[in-house]
Amino acid sequence: MTAPLLEARHVTKVFGGGLFDRQRVVALEDFSLVLRDDPPAFTAVVGESGSGKTTLARLLLGVIGPTQGQVLYRGKDLRALSRAEWRTFRREVQAIFQDPYEVYNPFYKVDHVLETPIAKFGLARTRAEARALIEEALQAVGLRPEETLGRYPHQLSGGQRQRVMVARALLLKPRLIIADEPVSMVDASLRATILESLRALHQQYHIAFLYITHDLTTAYQVCQDIIVLYRGRVVEVGEVEPVVQTPEHPYTRLLIDSIPLPDPDRPWRAAGEPAPLARQADPLKGCRFADRCPFTHAPCLASPPPLYQTHPRRAVACYLYQQAPVLPPEQVGAVLANGPVAGPPPAAG
């Protein structure tokens, strides 16, 4: 079996924590994930602020290195890539971030962000060829080239700027796009259009996606698999429909109950007053949700729960499910649609 496109193996990232530094923050702990491009995955990582989701994006992009564990690109540790391999990685794995405005230099026309990758990766030999590539990419994300090129960033709407970023990623014919909150700055009427264009790229160009978001509703709509993070740990992972329809982890339930659904006939259930925001004495020791969980009992405070595989396509990190078999983190792919168990993928380069 070929190595997956991108894999995280027992990745832990700690910020701070020098010898005398008390502010040690474990942003992500013992995280494993397999992202395949054959067939391409569409996986969501959902979490609130402080869940470690952006740290995960940066680790997978090689922007920061893990404190422990490995990030593997086609089976090879990112830190061990040769110059040429790193270059291929930078082309095959693209990123889209939350605020597209910050990516642009306000003094350059938007053409600049599209021409740069072409020049850098030598994608075109002539100007005409470059122009054709740019026009094709813009059209693929539903933008009209004649209305987009030659303009300055401030002359485009937020939704247009974000779609130009998608087009830029597309120019490089990536195998995987890591999209970190791509639509959270965009208005509702345009959000749907951008998400639909991501889905179209997945289907037409067979690009794998890792969609990182706080918004469970959009994740539900576009993804096959979902990973729910809470304070740096996976709490629930599996096929998106059952996880959202019948959440098992108490945190996933709280998260889903808290979503303000655009339906007056499905009211919020009473949340009650917030739990006192007391910090656990040792947040590393037990379950990180124990201080807010209505089901906390002794084992939850003693050690963090492992992932229990409650269904063929779902695993939950909660002692409520301890009758189910334990799923070691490195085998988390087993419950994902494109995991190694889901069927050996055809050999591909």
């Binding site: 009427s189 259009t193 889903i256 808290s258 979503i259 303000p260 655009p262």
Partner: protein
């Protein structure tokens, strides 16, 4: 263009009828906005952020004002408190509260009305707390500004009551803003907003920077406080989900104007304006997966507002008339208002 077509003559506006139709003596109108216009004067011309808005707020109700960025909703909220700063300017209209027009009050009298009668929980209010003052001193500042003089014991009791009211422990009074979480800071802002028991709370995206779990808690606090006070809340935002969960009546803004007003359930069940219809259809749900349908086209520039109905370039039902004549917000069913030529034959 200097003369502006507005949604109705100043005197007899839609909102008055709305109250007459619905209230039947049970609810009383507390605030009435008439033909309000707010422009930002830029080098390239006036940006018409609020263009002839009419609506009214009833005592104790939760009214939502929903719109996308650039629809003028935040400007409208600030204008109600006369907090528009240059180059913005209130060009005309009236904001009636207690039989007086706020727009015509001397500035000092308006300052006294703020907080005491009409309070604002601004967008990102939690970042507007003074970082070098303890929570207690921020509350003290608000009270002192409005001439409230209290003895030490009375003041401490007042602070304790306010904090408990919004679900915070009294010890929070001793904390600095940076020691509090986002949700706690937002509760402090609500505590300050209700410190003089206002009758209207304008809440502009009060939870936009908070996680969903905390968002629900803060919104429930706001609702509880609002019900205790019997105050009306004007919730301004872009999140239709939040509106669906919080308000009783909804107004939909587009390009600086109100295009639809009605009871919450009616608007969600049977949206009248094509923009509202498309907006609701574009919302992702947790029901079955479907193809996303965005609204084609782009939001209009307020600098060059389209002629006629501002939604006509994106509207699937646009008629020749829509390009020329801006439809007025008018009643079409009991308690329901729409600004669209499709309903010209109807009336209530």
């Amino acid at each position: 263009m200097v003369v502006c077509l507005t949604t109705g003559p100043g005197g007899k506006t839609g909102s008055e009828d709305a109250v007459a139709v619905k209230s039947s003596g049970v609810t009383t109108e507390i605030l009435r906005v008439e033909n309000l216009r707010v422009y930002y004067h830029t080098e390239v011309g006036p940006v018409r952020a609020v263009e002839g808005v009419n609506f009214s707020l009833r005592a104790g109700e939760r009214f939502g004002l929903v719109g996308e960025s650039g629809s003028g909703k935040s400007t409208l909220g600030l204008a109600l408190l006369r907090l528009i700063k240059p180059p913005g300017r209130i060009e005309g209209g009236a904001v009636h509260l207690d039989g007086e027009d706020l727009l015509r009050l001397p500035e000092e009298e308006m300052r006294q009305r703020r907080l005491a009668v009409i309070a604002l929980v601004a967008q990102g209010a939690m970042n507007s707390l003074n970082p070098v003052l303890r929570v207690r001193d921020q509350i003290a500042d608000a009270l002192a500004d409005h001439g409230v003089r209290l003895g030490r014991a009375d003041f401490e009791a007042r602070v304790r009551d306010l904090l408990t009211w919004v679900g915070l422990r009294p010890e929070v009074a001793d904390r600095y803003p940076h020691e509090l979480s986002g949700g706690m800071k937002q509760r402090v802002c609500i505590a300050i907003a209700i410190s003089l028991r206002p009758r209207i709370i304008v809440a502009d995206e009060p939870t936009s920077a908070l996680d969903v779990v905390v968002q629900r808690q803060v919104m429930e606090t706001l609702r509880r406080v609002q019900e205790d006070l019997g105050a009306a809340v004007l919730l301004i935002g872009h999140d239709m989900g939040l509106m669906a969960q919080f308000v009783e009546r909804l107004g939909v803004m587009y390009a600086g104007g109100l295009v639809e007003v009605g009871p919450l359930r009616a608007v969600f069940r049977e949206p009248l304006h094509p923009y509202t219809q498309l907006l609701i259809a574009s919302l992702p749900t947790l029901e079955k997966k479907r193809v996303f349908r965005g609204i084609p086209g782009l939001p209009p520039s307020l600098l060059q507002r389209p002629s006629g109905c501002p939604f006509h370039p994106r509207c699937p039902f646009a008629m020749p008339r829509c390009r020329e004549e801006e439809p007025a917000l008018r009643p079409v069913q009991t308690g329901r208002w729409v600004a669209c030529h499709l309903y010209d034959g109807e009336g209530a």
